[in-house]
Symmetry: C2
Subunit: 380 residues, 2 copies
């Protein structure tokens, strides 16, 4: 099976680019002297994760218990579940630990910490849990700020309940809103300092805190020193995408994920090329809409990956995409002659995590042109 005969739409991984991205991140982490724990929510694909582990990653980060269950079943034991736990999810999480999975759960509030303690007291959990505390270092979402008294309160609740505190973790997700090396480096410094400070406060209060975990793709690629940090997490770096390109951490030809599509029609007078990749294939992610360069629903390329100058995917219905001249660039020439019905194109996505999630499988494209099916999973 090759690109010119595969059913469309299809999610294509350029294996050479992916391996290069993985190697580059791992080399940075090795140079900075920290462990690297990739976030597998981006790919949800064992083939991709094996490539990350082969390159030197130690353990994984997951966003759902289903990811933890599937990757543990594939033999990966060191797993950080990086979404704050609630009591209703503890049975499923603890079932993994009973089976030998070294699953770490996180909390950012006293209620959830008390819930864990109550669960361990009231239910015969067997294997005790390991909890990391989520720290807020940039105000973008969850976590406890490093100087907040709640940090020590949570630590004391867990400690008093006999629950192991394994570390602190933070995610400077606001890095996605930046676009200069200077700003990214500053945020990476803030992320590091805040998380290290939280660990210091816990330790000073007599609460063990072995691990200090930070990361996002942009800050991981911008950090110049990581003193006090034990590990870094990042996900989208394996594929990169147009949002990351606008942030400034990758070139267009680093993007490893694209959607293969077929031209199914035209509206010649409007300059529109209609393709069979709609939002069901690309996702509805419009992450570049507030960035320096808006790529619409994606950047169309020829089959060999060369961007079609002047065209963007400007519109999306469920199974129809509309490729149109960006801005008000006039259309020149005969569109139907240039892109006849049946022409195959590849569209680079705004957000690899969201686009990948639309597909039950990737097709991994080797430099030889051969394609291999890599399954990905879906749901919770």
């Amino acid at each position: 099976m090759m690109l010119d005969s595969l059913d469309t739409p299809a999610a294509i991984i350029d294996v050479r680019r992916m391996n290069k991205n993985i190697a580059l991140m791992q080399a940075r982490m090795n140079a900075l002297g920290v462990k690297f724990r990739p976030h597998v929510k981006t790919s949800k694909c064992l083939d991709v994760v094996r490539a990350q582990l082969s390159a030197g990653a130690q353990g994984i980060t997951v966003s759902t218990l289903k990811e933890a269950e599937i990757f543990f079943a594939a033999g990966i034991t060191d797993i950080l579940y990086a979404v704050s736990i609630v009591s209703s999810k503890l049975s499923r999480a603890m079932a993994l630990r009973k089976q030998g999975c070294d699953l770490k759960i996180i909390v950012d509030n006293a209620g959830a910490a008390a819930g864990i303690v109550a669960f361990c007291r009231d239910v015969n959990v067997g294997e005790p849990p390991e909890v990391w505390i989520e720290v807020d270092t940039d105000g973008h979402r969850s976590g406890i700020t490093p100087e907040d008294d709640a940090l020590l309160e949570i630590g004391r609740i867990l400690q008093a309940g006999g629950v192991k505190i394994g570390g602190v973790m933070t995610h400077a997700g606001s890095s996605y809103e930046l676009n200069t090396q200077e700003a990214l480096a500053a945020l990476a410094g803030q992320e590091r300092a805040g998380c290290v400070r939280a660990a210091q406060r816990l330790r000073a209060a007599g609460i063990a805190c072995e691990n200090v975990s930070v990361g996002s793709t942009p800050t991981a690629l911008a950090a110049s020193r990581l003193d006090g940090v034990t590990e870094v997490r990042a996900g989208v770096y394996a594929f990169f995408d147009l949002v990351m390109h606008n942030v400034g951490v990758c070139a267009i030809d680093d993007l490893a994920l694209s959607v293969l599509t077929t031209v199914i029609g035209h509206q010649q007078d409007k300059g529109w090329i209609i393709v069979d990749a709609g939002w069901m294939a690309m996702s509805r992610d419009r992450g570049t809409s507030k960035q320096s360069r808006d790529f619409g629903y994606g950047l169309p390329c020829t089959l060999d990956g060369t961007p079609l100058d002047g065209y963007l995917m400007m519109g999306a219905n469920q199974e129809h995409g509309i490729l149109a001249p960006a801005g008000h660039a006039p259309h020149e020439g005969d569109l139907e002659a240039r892109f006849p019905v049946g022409t195959r194109l590849r569209i680079l996505p705004n957000h690899a995590c969201a686009t990948g999630a639309q597909f039950p499988e990737y097709h991994a494209l080797e430099p030889t042109g051969e394609l291999t099916v890599w399954r990905r999973f879906h749901g919770w």
Copy 2:
């Protein structure tokens, strides 16, 4: 299994509301004297489609060949594949006809029509294809305008090639951009008139054109007469959603699809409630962002479906949703006391087709409170 014990996030179908929506649309179509062919791309779920057929629907519309294959395997034979065909998809489409599926394919250009003729000539297809011609009645996407010479050209190519022309079809998708009954009724009239005119032109040229198929949920609900039309198609009406509410064709308490979620944290000073439904659960669809009322990523409700006054899902990461006061409404009172960690909520989505697609299954909620798993499928 009940709403208070189901793993979250989960996609909940309120069966009573869904059945009411289905019955209302079918009654309208019966009164207008047309067949109704629901678009199953919204649900991709056999249980939902069976409810539509039981109510009186005749045949289905699909957006992918996978939908055609799965629903044909379940015994449904009258299927319209409503995305313009290309040659590379003909083998798969014709395999269905060989097995006895009455699959209709569509084209809107001479190249695709010639491709069908060539396929039938060069490949031993056995069962001949049936082709409908796509008509553009509102300029929003695909199709041939009713007065375009290409309409007759396509008809003649197919006729000369011995391919049966089964009808014409159109979809006035620009109806999603309207929000008054007057404008919707006018567009429904335009959709009807344009499609009927295309059929008349074909017939006048000696080209058979038995079926005249129109539809979108808003125009189907706004049409006052459908003379010359043989059938109507619509999809999202079965669930409705916030976009349809803004268009003006349903009330909030008609919405049959919601996402069950659990509160996992707070940022008290910002008035934020953090939930475990992010964009992976809601989709990235922001279809209300350009409408009269922007619902963010969705409208949070209590477990019984009552909207939380003043709150919207304002932010979404992959597995985190941020519920926040809409606009600049000040937060009053203790958020953690009002919505403790573990509280369950339901979020109404912008776009039911996109939200449903994020889930491997629905949980159908009966008036008794009981939940039944209804599988849905994914991919192409």
